[in-house]
Amino acid sequence: MLTVTDIHSYYGKSHVLEGVSLTVNKGELVTLLGRNGAGKTTTLRSIVGIVSPRQGSITFDGSETVGMETFEIARRGIALVPEHRGIFRMLTVAENLEIAVRSGSQWSLADVYGLFPRLWERRKNGGNALSGGEQQMLAIARALVNGPRILLLDEPTEGLAPVIVDELVNILREIKRSGVPVLLVEQNLNVCRKLADRHYVLEQGQVVYHGTAAEFDADPTIRDRYLALSA
């Protein structure tokens, strides 16, 4: 479905991605792990065209997306929930969602309000009035009404209280069950273990490990070698 082949991305002169390849298949939830600065965010930004890879190829449903504008890639159904969440602070919660609504999405406004009752309660509040957890929910809800055919999530649980994290895990399960594939960047290994089918580990802009969830769980040395994370 989504195939990234040997992409090289730069910020100015600094060579950040040095040949990253990965695939996400129909219905899968795949994680992209790695230490801070490994290039996870840059990989996601390259997929949606915010950063333009100078080399390599990205295909979605068989067609090349490298060189396309970000909005065109988004219209094809690649939805990124960015690390900074990108909530419009001066817009209400409802407006944040309404500008994203696209006909033909699997999720309607009513659906996401059902999925996130808290957003319905806060629909008239400004984006600047939301807590971190609410912002993350709004960012995901907004991606859902936007008609995603694949969802890219950049550290959705970062900085959130454990209760909220559990709530998000349930939502992600539901999204996965709906058939929309997910590429998840996440530092919280517990969250990854609960959801993932496969894992990729990135280090200094290269994929250094790739395995199924079972393989990854069976080999704790991977964690020790590449991820200085709490398990």
Partner: protein
């Protein structure tokens, strides 16, 4: 005596609404595109001249009120496609140089087309009378101008605050990247907003034509005032453009009866005071 002041207050409101229409366009463009448009006054000028031409050819002011702003907006849209959009990523100083050049081209072209001497536009038929209330009399056209500008202001408010297009403009003013991520063609949004903002200056140019006529150097004067208004009201703020515009209009108008020589001084003094007390303007955000 009281009537004199009422007269000047109404004049000030009219002037203020014209300033509002000019500045609100400037401020919306700056808010979304982060682009400084020094050609804004020149487009106002073009609105006045197009009004003159349409009125001369057809004798119909109402037609010019419709056609001239559309013409100005169309020209703005074309300029955006050809030139302006290449300057969004450049520093403001470059944008100022480019649009100042455009302003000069428009001014000189206007002189070539319409001549160096100003043109006057007759007061539209049907509004050339005087409105009377007791002993108070006020030109009908000037009242119409206030009401019409207010209606345009209301429509604009509705567009920005109550429609999807407006929400996208506001969202884009905060974060264009996320707007693109949601599948909106940000380039199209930019061109439409630029044409809209400049078109509003065109409306102002038409409205002011029967009072001030069209004159090649009107553009610079109007641009200066618009920047004062935007600095007072705050860059990117609709309310700021309204309050700032009315404030400057009223001060200018009242000063002409009290102390004519001091009118500009007062306005620039007010601007300096606002900058010192509230650097981002009365309604601006940092």
């Amino acid at each position: 005596m009281l009537n004199v002041y009422l007269f000047q207050v109404l004049n000030g409101l009219g002037l203020g609404m014209i300033y509002f229409l000019i500045s609100v366009g400037l401020t919306i463009i700056f808010g979304l595109l982060n682009f400084v448009n020094f050609a804004h006054g020149a487009f106002f000028l073009l609105g006045s001249y197009l009004c003159y031409t349409v009125v001369t050819l057809t004798g119909n002011f109402w037609l010019s009120l419709f056609v001239a702003p559309l013409g100005v907006a169309l020209l703005a849209w074309i300029t955006e496609q050809v030139l302006i959009k290449r300057a969004y990523h450049l520093p403001h100083t470059f944008q100022i140089l480019i649009t100042l050049g455009m302003a000069l081209i428009i001014r000189e072209a206007s002189i070539m087309i319409w001549g160096p001497i100003g043109k006057s536009v007759p007061t539209p038929a049907g509004l050339d009378g005087v409105f009377r209330l007791g002993s108070f009399a006020y030109p009908e056209y000037r009242l119409f101008m206030i009401v019409f500008a207010a209606v345009i202001g209301l429509l604009l408010w509705f567009l920005l605050e109550r429609t999807r297009f407006g929400a996208l403009v506001r969202a884009g003013s905060e974060d264009t990247e996320t707007v693109s991520l949601l599948g909106t063609n940000i380039f199209k949004l930019f061109s439409l907003t630029f044409a809209l903002g400049v078109g509003l200056a065109g409306v102002a140019g038409v409205l002011s034509a029967p009072i001030r006529g069209a004159h090649p150097f009107l553009g610079e004067e109007v641009l200066g005032i618009a920047f004062v208004v935007v600095v007072i009201g705050g860059m990117g703020s609709f309310t700021g453009a309204l309050v700032g515009g009315l404030l400057v209009g009223l001060v200018q108008s009242l000063m002409t009866t009290i102390w004519p020589q001091g009118a500009s001084l007062m306005i620039y003094g007010a601007m300096a005071a606002v900058i010192m007390l509230r650097p981002y303007g009365l309604f601006g955000r940092s």
